[in-house]
């Protein structure tokens, strides 16, 4: 093996493999060939077309963001600290109706992808309108993406005629399935309160037919329970269960108001969960019972949600919040250890997305999604426990180099696949138009 040639070698760092045994390798050697991890060893530098010196860095699997709405970077900080329905109905929805088009989705997504790559994310699961544009943006910059075509029982910016949604979705899945596992299509029913039972069932049938993931927002706010009980005489999880849409290829996003019975059902059925602490805290939506879910074996990954309710896409901050919020609400500092949280941001996030055989840990045979974190920083000195630092002290800006599918997409903080200045300028221009219109809307 040492005499083999590699396309790329990462040598000299401290490797957190995130393998099942959580093996840590000092002075690690990672050999990459054809986008795959072909060698994980220590202490030498094999022949390679390119070698990156990782001395002084932690090397770990790239982070997995299991839920966001990328183009919402265009609304970042437009309206904050408002009641949820006021925020949605008087700020976000009117601005989306006015401004969401292919160009805004493309430009917003590209800036969001730049921000994510710069902060260590290598895989994202997105759900928004014009999802073809998201997929194309991801393909262009080399970000691994699960792109989820959205459904709701009303006309959307990308489907002004509701009855055409399903045919468009089938075309979307067929178009992107050949790009897996870099780009993977999925279907996203917005929620049990915006999708009829028929929509929920039909979309799940289509997802099963295509062999792809099915997502829905679920139990973000307490009020959803009353809404669904009022309509269907049962709680949301029971409603989805009775419709037959819950299985091991279903991801429920938020899950802030899960009962113990709901959690047991998810565990039995293999339903996965995306936990978005920053957004749920900022919107005052609630706190998901994540320690209880993990104790029952439910796969839980981390998500940032869209930038309008966070307001950034930095998974390091999400890790910090995920570790702290459950400690204080349970008054128990032993829940949500740093190791547990790093697993949620990597291998468990991959498991949520059904990609854990391919990514989420640094092991031979997996796709080469890796990040290097520069530990030579005052706020990371001294270093006793790498997991502790990753959760409680590292920030996105400490990520030095990012590799996705064997391709270097950022090196020494410089993006190699996105023109950052151009991406910022385009979103600034969109922001100026939004600001002018928003000013008129709120002053009416």
């Amino acid at each position: 093996m040492p005499s083999e040639n590699f396309d790329l070698v990462i040598a000299g760092g401290t490797l957190l493999t995130l393998s099942a045994d959580m093996k840590i390798i000092e002075d690690a050697t990672i050999g990459i060939r054809d986008g795959c991890i072909a060698l994980v060893d220590a202490g030498f530098r094999p022949r390679a077309a390119r070698t990156i010196d990782a001395t002084g860095c932690l090397v770990l699997p790239g982070l997995v963001n299991t839920h966001t709405h990328l183009p919402m970077v265009c609304f970042r900080g437009l309206a904050d600290d408002l009641p949820l329905m006021d925020w949605l109905q008087h700020h976000i929805f009117p601005m989306e109706a006015r401004f969401v088009d292919k160009e805004m989705v493309n430009d917003g997504a590209l800036l969001a992808m730049a921000e994510m790559i710069l902060s260590g994310t290598t895989t994202v699961c997105d759900g928004y309108f014009f999802e073809n544009q998201i997929a194309e943006a991801a393909l262009s910059c080399g970000l691994r993406a699960v792109v989820s075509q959205g459904f709701a029982d009303f006309a959307t910016p990308d489907n002004p005629r509701y009855e055409k949604m399903m045919a468009a979705a089938d075309r979307f899945a067929a178009r992107w399935l050949p790009h897996a596992p870099l780009i993977t299509p999925a279907f996203f029913c917005h929620s049990p309160y915006t999708c009829s039972p028929q929509t929920l069932v039909n979309v799940k049938a289509a997802a099963r037919g295509a062999g792809i993931l099915y997502l829905t927002h679920l139990l973000e706010n307490q009020s959803e329970i009353d809404t669904i009980e009022g309509r269907y005489g049962k709680k949301p999880v029971q409603h989805l269960y009775d419709l037959g849409v819950l299985d091991e290829r279903t991801i429920a996003v938020h899950c802030n108001w899960m009962s113990p019975d709901d959690i047991a059902l998810f565990a039995d059925l293999g339903v996965s969960v995306s936990h978005n602490p920053a957004s749920s805290m900022k919107l005052a939506a609630g706190i998901a019972p994540v320690p209880d879910m993990l104790a029952r074996g439910v796969a839980v990954g981390l998500g940032t949600d869209g930038s309008a309710s966070n307001n950034d896409l930095d998974l390091f901050q999400e890790m910090d919040l995920a570790a702290k919020i459950h400690k204080v609400t349970q008054l128990d500092p032993t829940v949500m250890s740093a190791e547990t949280v790093v697993r949620m941001a990597t291998i468990e996030g991959a498991r949520v997305l059904g990609l854990d055989a391919l990514i989420g840990s640094v092991e031979t045979g997996k796709r080469a999604d890796l990040i290097l974190v520069d530990m030579n920083q005052p706020h990371l000195t001294p270093l006793y426990n790498p997991y502790s630092h990753l959760v409680y002290a590292v920030r996105g800006a400490d990520v030095k180099t990012s590799i996705i599918d064997g391709r270097i997409v950022m090196e020494n903080r410089r993006l190699l696949t996105i023109d950052l200045a151009a991406a910022m300028e385009k979103v600034r221009a969109i922001g100026e138009r939004i600001a002018a219109e928003h000013h008129q809307v709120v002053s009416r």
Copy 2:
């Protein structure tokens, strides 16, 4: 005025004055002379020995950290996710007993000060052992500091003979009072459960005699209520009130378990509060009722607490947490607006420390403590509301330049008063010794 000469001019940025009317000035001109803000205007560049171009930056008062234990950077990440008493008694206290000396305090404080300056803090209120060393470190690097000599009813690393503490404290106050307002001495009684009534009263009398601040940890954990009730037959706030130590020159740190009556008493007496959300969340200590305190007019500032329970000294993260934690626990997104939180990190923090006539806002006549935040970043694009970005999206690493008392201490992310590489190397060496000893202690 435009024809006057200044030592330093900051021109071209968007200035958040944090004045009472929260005035924002575009293309601002700030003239500095003899460490003071001599001019606040807009749109021109007066003659000056030095001009800094702040185009593309937010300019705002430097941040005020109202509570920390600086040398605890040496224990950052040594032990996490443990029950409080296990953490203190089996990890932190034994390591402090073994390693805290003048050199460790000096080296740890200097690295902590580097980290703080790099993340936008210009004033810190510290409490630890060997506080003379902290004051000297602050003086050497130009950081504004309230340095609090600690008291407890047992021998400490800096006072092996308890009965000598008071005399040492008087010398400490006399030594540092001439350095105010850059360095301001204060006295810190550790807590009502580690200080006897006599100690609490004597130290307050000495603080009053010297005309300096008096601090104590208070109501960090719920168990403190039982402890104090068991000893004195009353709750902690009533206990301190009956001892006569609560007044407008007293700062209570944490205050996680304040009753409405406690809050009313603080409001009546003018007692100030240091809120440390990251530490209280990580230690699962509790959540201070900050919105209620603010509604009653209690001055509340932000603090990071020591790095062992945070695990960094970044006040931008503290702002983010302070905004989010109260929203979700009260299920009300309108509490703790971004503006309110930025005020807590600046002018209200200054008010807590009794320094609001001198710092905390950018107004003529105040000392020149200013930071420039580089907004030309993907995660800060677009920009609708500067307060929103400061709280929800800016990170310490976005601070470009810091000025304290008119002196440029960091410029373009480069520290000008601290040898950062040397500071990191010294703490790394301390960390290696601590790690070896800690390994022996925990494996016993």
